[in-house]
C-alpha cells in the first residue's frame, strides 16, 4: 500500500492554524468596534411594526431626544443575555430605547418580548436591509443617537451592567437627554 505521508501531517497543520486563531482571538477586545457612521446622521429608514396595529419605527422617531437603538433577534443567544440589562436601563434611566428586530420572525420576536419584558419604546421589524444601512455586522449592537439624530456611539455585542455604568450612562449624561 502506497504511503501518503503528507496526509498524516494535515491534522497538526490544521490544529496549528486553529491555535493561532485562538491566541489572536484571546487578545482582542470583544466589545469595541469602530464604525464609519460615528458622528454621521442616522440612516433614513422606515420599518414596519412587529404586529399590525402597533406603530413602526422610522428615522423621524429619533429627532428631539437622545435615544438608544438596539438591534436584536429572538434567535440570538447573546441578545438573551443582554435583555435584562436593557430592561433595567429602560426602567432606571428612562432613556428611550428603540429596537430593530433583525432578520427575525415577527411571531418569535413577539413571544420573546412577552417572555423577557419590553424595554423598547418602539420596535421595527427589519428583513436585513435597514441593518445594512446601520452597518450592522451581527446582533446585538447598540447605538446612541443624539437629539439632532446623529449616531454618537456604537457598542458591539451584548451590553453588560458594567458597560452601562462605565460608558452608556456617562455618555447619555454628556449628551444631556
Amino acid at each position: 500500500m502506497a504511503r501518503r505521508g503528507w496526509l498524516y501531517v494535515v491534522p497538526i497543520v490544521v490544529f496549528a492554524l486553529l491555535a493561532g486563531g485562538f491566541y489572536v482571538g484571546l487578545g482582542r477586545d470583544t466589545m469595541v468596534l469602530p464604525s464609519p457612521l460615528i458622528d454621521k446622521p442616522a440612516p433614513q429608514f422606515s420599518l414596519p411594526p412587529l404586529a399590525e396595529g402597533e406603530s413602526g419605527f422610522s428615522t423621524s422617531d429619533l429627532r428631539g431626544h437622545v435615544s438608544l437603538v438596539n438591534t436584536f433577534a429572538s434567535w440570538c443567544a447573546p441578545c438573551r443575555a443582554e435583555h435584562p440589562v436593557l430592561n433595567h436601563l429602560a426602567r432606571s434611566s428612562g432613556v428611550a430605547i428603540y429596537g430593530i428586530d433583525y432578520k427575525d420572525k415577527p411571531d418569535a420576536a413577539r413571544a420573546w418580548i412577552a417572555a423577557l419584558g419590553n424595554p423598547y419604546v418602539r420596535i421595527g421589524a427589519d428583513d436585513g436591509r435597514v441593518g445594512i444601512d446601520w452597518g450592522v455586522y451581527g446582533v446585538p449592537e447598540t447605538f446612541i443617537v443624539d437629539r439632532t439624530g446623529r449616531i454618537r456611539y456604537k457598542h458591539v455585542g451584548p451590553l453588560t451592567e458594567d458597560d452601562v455604568t462605565a460608558t452608556i450612562l456617562p455618555l447619555l449624561a454628556k449628551l444631556g437627554r
Binding site: 500500500m1 504511503r3 505521508g5 498524516y8 501531517v9 491534522p11 497538526i12 490544529f15 496549528a16 491555535a19 486563531g21 485562538f22 491566541y23 489572536v24 482571538g25 484571546l26 487578545g27 482582542r28 470583544t30 468596534l33 433577534a73 434567535w75 440570538c76 443567544a77 447573546p78 438573551r80 443575555a81 413577539r110 413571544a111 412577552a114 417572555a115 419584558g117 455586522y137 451581527g138 446582533v139 449592537e141 458591539v156 455585542g157 451584548p158
Partner: protein, 663 residues
Amino acid sequence: MINEIGHFALVLALCVSALQMVVPLVGAARGDAALTAWARPAAIAQFLFIATAFFALMHAYAVSDFSLANVAANSSSMKPLLFKLSGVWSNHEGSMLLWVFILALFGAAVAVFGRNLPPSLRARVLSVQAMIGFGFLLFILLTSNPFVRLFPVPAEGAGLNPILEDRGLAFHPPCLYLGYVGFSISFCFAIAALIEGRVDPAWARWVRPWTLAAWCALTTGIAMGSWWSYYTLGWGGWWFWDPVENASFMPWLVGTALLHSAIVVEKRDTLKTWTILLAIITFSLSLIGTFLVRSGVLTSVHAFASDPRRGVFILLLLGAYTGGALLLFAWRAPQLVGGGLFAPISREGGLLLNNLLLTTAAATVFLGTLYPLFLDVVAHQRVSVGPPFYAMTFVPIMVPLLIAMAVGPMLPWKRGDLLAALSHLKWAFLATAAAAIVVLAIAGVRSIGAACGLALAAWLLIGTAVELAERVHLFGEPLASVFRRARRLPRSAWGMTFAHAGMAVVIAGITGSTAWTEERIVNGKPGQSFDIAGYTIKLDAVNEVQGPDFTATQADMRLLRDGTEIAALHPEKRFYPVENGAATGVAIRTNMVSDIYAVIGDPDGKGGYVLRLYYNPLVPWIWLGAAFMALGGLVSLSDRRHRVGAPARRARPVADAGVQAAE
C-alpha cells in the same frame, strides 16, 4: 484546618503526577519492570490526594465556611444542603477541581481494573494521563485556586446564581465531566499505542469499554443539560445551538464515531490510524470546549466567569496536549501496519460512512461555533451564527446518517450485497411509507417536513427491530428457540439495538416538537380560561408564596380536558433576595407523549399577568430516547468480553511472547 489540608493535598497531587508522568514512561522505554510498576501506586495516590482536596472543598461548602473566597462568592448559609454541595461545581475554581478529580478517578480505575493490560502499555497510558493531570493541577494552583482565603471573613455569602439552583443541574456538570474527561482515557490509550507503535484488535478491545463509559456519561450529561434548559429557561425550547451546548455536542459526535471505528479495529484489524486520530480529536474537542467556556472568547448565555489569563493557560495546555499528540501522530502513525481490506459495500464500509458523516457533522458544528471568532480575527467583522445555519447544514448531514443507520448493521463484514440488505428491510420501507402517509393524512400536506422526520424515525426503528428479529430468527423458528437465541445474543448486540432504537425515538421527539408545538401568550386575570390544543387552562388565583431562600409569585391553574380536571399547574416566578436575581419555575404536565407547559411572567399592573402556555407534542421522547441510548451503552458495556480476562494479544516479536505467557 481542613481547608489547609485540602490545599496541601492538591500540591502533593501535583508532585505525584510529576513523578507519574516521567518514571513509568522511562521504565517502559527501558524495559525496567521496577520503574514501570510505579504507575499503579502513583495513579492511586494521585487520586487519593485529589479526592482529599475535593472533599475538603465540599466540606467547606457544606458548613458554609466563608473564610474561603470561593465559598463566599458562590454560596450562602440559607441554601438547602443539596445546593450548597452542588455549589462546589457551579463556579470556575470548583468545577476545575471536579474536572481533575474525575480525571484522577479514571486514572485510578485504569490502575485498579487494568490488570489484564500488558504492564508497559498500562504504564504508558497512566503516564500520559499524569501529563494531563499535571497540567490541570498546575492550572488550578496557579490561576484558579479554590482554597484562597478571605479576610475579614464575611458573615454571609453572595449566593448561587438562581437558575443554577436546580436538582437536575446539580448532577448535570458531574455527568458531563465524566464524559469529557472519560475520553481522556481513549486519548491516553491512543498516545500509548503511538509510542509503542502498535495498534491491534486487543488494543481496541481494551480501549472500547472506557470510550463506551465516557460516551454513556456524555449522552446523559447532554440530555440532562437540554432537559434543564427546557424546564428552567421557561421558553419551551430544549436546544439553542449555544456555544456552550455545542462544546459538549462536538465531542459527543466524534466520540460516537470513535465508538464505531473501534469496532472495526477490534473485529477486522483495520482503520487503525483513523481510530487513533478520532481518539485524539475527541479529547481535543473536550479540551477546546473547556477553553471556549472558560476563556471568554465567545459570548454565550451560559456566562461563566472568564479571565483572559486563564484562557492563555488553557490554550497552552491545549497546544501541549493536542499539538503534541498530533505531532506524534504525524511521526508515528504512518508506521502503523494496516489490516484487512474491505469492499465499499460491507459492514466496515457502513461504519466508515457513519464515521465520515459524524465527523462532517461535528465539523459543521465546529464551523458554526467558531466562525464568528475567526471572522473577527481575520476580517474584523462581527457576526452571530444562529439556528438557521444549523438547520441548513447539520440536518442534511443527519438524514443520510439515519438512513444508513438501519442498513449498516444488515451488511456482512468484508463484502456485502446492498440489494440483499435492502430486501431484508422491506418491512421498514412499508413502515416508513405508512408513517409518512399517516402524518400527511392527519396533519395535512403542509406538514411535509414532519412527515419526513417521522418517516425517518420509523425507518430506523423498524430497521433496527428487523435486524434484531433476524438475529434471533423470529418468524422462522419456534418461540422457545427464539428465546434461547435472544438470551445468547451478546450484550453488545442488545446495546446497539437499544441505542439505535433510542436514536429513532429522539428523532421522532425532535420532529414533533419542531413541527407541532403550539404556543399562546396571553395576558390573564384570575378567573379566566384559555384553550390550547384541545385542553383548557383555567387560572384560579395568583399568590405570593415563600420558598426556602426565595419568594415567588405562584399561579394556581387547573388543566382541563372536556371539562374534567386532569392536573393542577403551579408555575411560579421566583425572586432570590440574597442574589438579587430571578428564576422561572415552569409547570409541566406530561403524559409521556406530549407536554403542557405553563409559565407565569410579569404582572401588567392592572391585576393581570403575562402567561405563556405551550403544547409540546413528542418532546418527552427526546429525553426518553436519550435515556435509551445511554442504556444501550451501559448494556453494551456489560458485555462479557469486556469482563472476561485478557484478550490474547497476538505475539508479534518473539521476545514479547515470554511476557505474554507470563500474564
